[in-house]
Amino acid sequence: MSAMGRQRWLGPAMFLPAVLYVVALVGVPFVLAFLYSVGDVKVGSVGYHFVGLHNFKSVLQSPTFLRSLRNSFTFTIASQVLVLIGANILALALKNPFPGRRFVRFLILLPWVAPVSIGSIGWKWILDSLYSVINWVLIRMHLVNEFSPPMYLGEPKLAMASVILVHAWHMLPFSTVILLAGWTAIPKDIPEAAAVDGAGFFRRLFQIQLPMMLPIINVAVLFGVIFTFTDMTVVYILTRGGPYDTTQVLPSLAFFTGILGSDLAEGAAISLFLVPVLALVAWLMLRSAHRAEVT
C-alpha cells in the first residue's frame, strides 16, 4: 500500500476504538432504554409487546415520580449553589502561596479521589440517629435535647439537607480545581489596575474578576449539573430515597423501579426523563466551549 493509502486508513483506524466504545456502552443502552420504555419488558420476561406511551402515562400519574422529579431539581440546584460558592472561596484562598499550601490542596482534593461510597458511609455514621458525633457534641454543649436529638437522615427536611450537603462535599474539590485554574489564568495586572483605579475588594471581585471567570464558572457548573443530576450514590447509601421518598431522585427511583422492582419498562421511562435536561446542558456546554475557542 502506498504511503498515501496508509495515511487514509490510519486516521479512521485510530478513531475506531473510541467509536466502538461509545456505540457499545452508550448508544446501545440508550436505544435499549428507549425500546423498553415503549414496551412491556420486566426482568425475566421473554416477549416484547409495544405499548406506546403507556409507561410514560403511568409514570406521570405517580406522585412518587413527581416528587422525585422535584427532588432532582432541588438536589441539583442546591448542591451546585453550595459548590459554586464554596469552590470560589477555596480557589481564592488557595490562589496565593502560603506555607503548607500543597498539603492543604491535597486535603481538599481528598473527597474527590476517595471512593464516594467510603465517604458516604463515613457520613452515614456522622449523621447516624444514635451514634452521630454531631449530636454528641451538640448534646454536650446543651444545644439540643438529649432525649430527642435531630435525626439527620430520618426527618424529611433534614434528610434532604444532609443528602445535598454530602453531595456538595463530594463535588467541591472538582469545582475548586477547575476554578483555581481560572483564577490563576487572570493576569495579575488586571485586579491591580482595578485597585489603582479605586476599586475595593468586593468591587474587584464582582465587577472584574468574576465576570472574567464566567466562561470557566460555566464549565464547572455544567459539569457539576451533569454529575449531580445523574448521580444516585449519595442518596442510595445515606437514605435509599427515604424517609417516604422525600429524598428520592430520578436516577435512584429508576434504579428502584427498574432493577430492584423488576419493572424494566417503567424504570426506562423514568430515566428517559433525564434526557431533555441533559441534552440542554450538553448543548450549553458545547456552546460555551465553542465561545471559549473563538475569543
Binding site: P187, D189, A193, A194, V196, D197, G198, I208, M212
Partner: protein, 360 residues
C-alpha cells in the same frame, strides 16, 4: 498636582537576599516628567509599584504631596497607573473601561459619560467607545489605558513601560504624543523604561537605576555628559563610553568624541556652539588600529584597539558621521585624538567620578 518623595525606601523580597530596591531617596518636582531608567532587574518597576501601593516597602517612607502614604491602599493614594500590558478589563467596552475609575469613586452616571468623552476626545478615540479591548490594535489599547488613567484627573501618573508593546514605528510617534500630552496636562509623571532613547527624549529628569539603587538623577544632558559613575557612563549612549584603565583611575570618553586628526582642523575652526567652543583645548593624541567598521547610514562606527602609549592594546570605539569620507581599512593604524575636556575620570575601585589626573 503633587510631588513624590521616597525616604530610604527599601524592598527585600526574600529575607537575607539583596534588596530589589535599596535605600532610595528620590524627590520629584511639581509637574515634572521623571523617568526611571535602568536595565531589567534594576528595581525600577518595584519602586514604581511601591509608589502605587501595589507592593509593600520593607522599610522607608513614601510621601505623596507631603503626606506619608505607606499605610494607604492604592485606592486611597488617588493616583493613576498605566501598566505595560495596559491591563484593560476584557469584558468591558472601552466606555466601561474608561468610566470604571469614576464608578469606583461614585461619580453620577451622566457626569461619568461626560468625563469619559472628554478623556477619549483628548486621546482621539471617541469612535471606539463601544468596542471591546480585544477588537483594538496595540496603539488603540494604549490610548484607552491612558484615557482610563486621566479620566479621574489624578494628582500623579505612574507609567510602567507603556510603549514597549508597540512596534518600533508606532513607538516613536507615541513617544512624542505622550510627552506633549503630559506637558499639556501638567501632571507629575513617573515613567519607567529600559529604553534610553525614550528616557532622553521624554524626561525632564532621568533617574538612572542599577541593582536597586539610583545611581544618578539629572536632566538627560547631565546624565549623558557628566555621568556620575561607570555604570551610568556605559548604560547611556550607544555604543557605550570607552573606558580605559589607567593606574588608579579609569579614563572615559564617548565614541563621538574620538575622531581622526584629519577631521580636527575643520571642527575646531567652526565650533558649533559655545559649549563646544569652551571644550576646544589641548588634544590627547591616540593611535588607533582599526578592527572592523559598521556602516549605519547616517553614521559609521569603528571598532579597534589603541596602539602604543599608556593605553596600548585597549579596545576603543569611534562613532563618526558618514559625511566623513575617509576610508579606514581593517588593520591599518591612524592618528586619532580626543579633546582633553571630553575625558571623564572614574575611580578604579568604586567606579565613581573623580578629579582629573595627568595622563602621562
Amino acid at each position: 498636582m503633587a510631588i513624590v518623595q521616597t525616604r530610604g525606601l527599601t524592598k527585600v523580597f526574600k529575607k537575607g537576599e539583596f534588596g530589589a530596591v535599596n535605600d532610595v531617596n528620590l524627590e520629584s518636582r511639581e509637574g515634572e516628567f521623571l523617568v526611571l531608567l535602568g536595565p531589567s532587574g534594576s528595581g525600577k518597576t518595584t519602586l514604581l509599584r511601591m509608589i502605587a501601593g501595589l507592593e509593600e516597602p520593607t522599610s522607608g517612607e513614601i510621601l505623596i504631596g507631603g503626606r506619608v502614604v505607606n499605610d494607604l491602599t492604592p485606592r486611597e493614594r488617588r493616583i493613576a497607573m498605566v501598566f505595560q500590558s495596559y491591563a484593560l478589563y476584557p469584558h468591558l467596552t472601552v466606555l466601561g473601561n474608561i468610566t470604571f475609575p469614576l464608578k469606583a469613586q461614585g461619580t453620577p452616571k451622566a457626569e461619568r459619560e461626560k468625563k469619559a468623552l472628554w478623556a477619549a476626545g483628548l486621546l482621539g478615540i471617541p469612535h471606539l467607545m463601544h468596542r471591546k479591548p480585544r477588537e483594538l490594535s496595540g496603539g488603540e489599547r494604549q490610548r484607552v489605558a491612558l484615557a482610563r488613567a486621566i479620566v479621574r484627573e489624578p494628582s500623579l501618573f505612574l507609567l510602567d513601560e507603556p510603549l514597549s508593546n508597540l512596534d518600533a514605528k508606532l513607538r516613536a510617534s507615541a513617544r512624542t504624543e505622550l510627552e506633549q500630552f503630559q506637558k499639556r496636562m501638567g501632571t507629575t509623571t513617573i515613567y519607567v523604561t529600559h529604553d534610553q532613547v525614550e528616557a532622553m527624549a521624554m524626561g525632564d529628569r532621568v533617574a538612572v537605576m542599577n541593582k536597586g539603587s539610583v545611581r544618578q538623577i539629572g536632566t538627560p544632558a547631565e546624565v549623558y555628559d557628566e555621568p556620575a559613575d561607570t555604570f551610568v557612563a556605559t548604560f547611556l549612549g550607544s555604543p557605550p563610553m570607552n573606558l580605559l584603565e589607567h593606574g588608579k583611575v579609569i579614563v572615559g570618553f564617548r565614541p563621538e568624541h574620538f575622531f581622526p586628526v584629519t577631521h580636527l582642523a575643520g571642527q575646531a575652526a567652526v565650533p558649533a556652539d559655545i559649549r563646544a567652543a569652551e571644550r576646544v583645548g589641548p588634544y590627547v593624541p591616540l593611535k588607533f588600529r582599526i578592527g572592523h567598521e559598521e556602516y549605519l547610514g547616517a553614521e559609521r562606527i569603528l571598532y579597534g584597539e589603541l596602539d602604543g602609549g599608556a593605553f596600548d592594546s585597549k579596545t576603543a570605539i569611534c562613532r563618526m558621521s558618514s559625511t566623513h569620507g575617509a576610508s579606514f581599512p581593517a588593520g591599518s593604524v591612524h592618528a586619532f585624538a580626543v579633546r582633553e575636556g571630553d575625558l571623564k575620570f572614574f575611580d578604579r575601585e568604586t567606579g565613581t567620578r573623580t578629579s582629573r589626573v595627568p595622563l602621562v
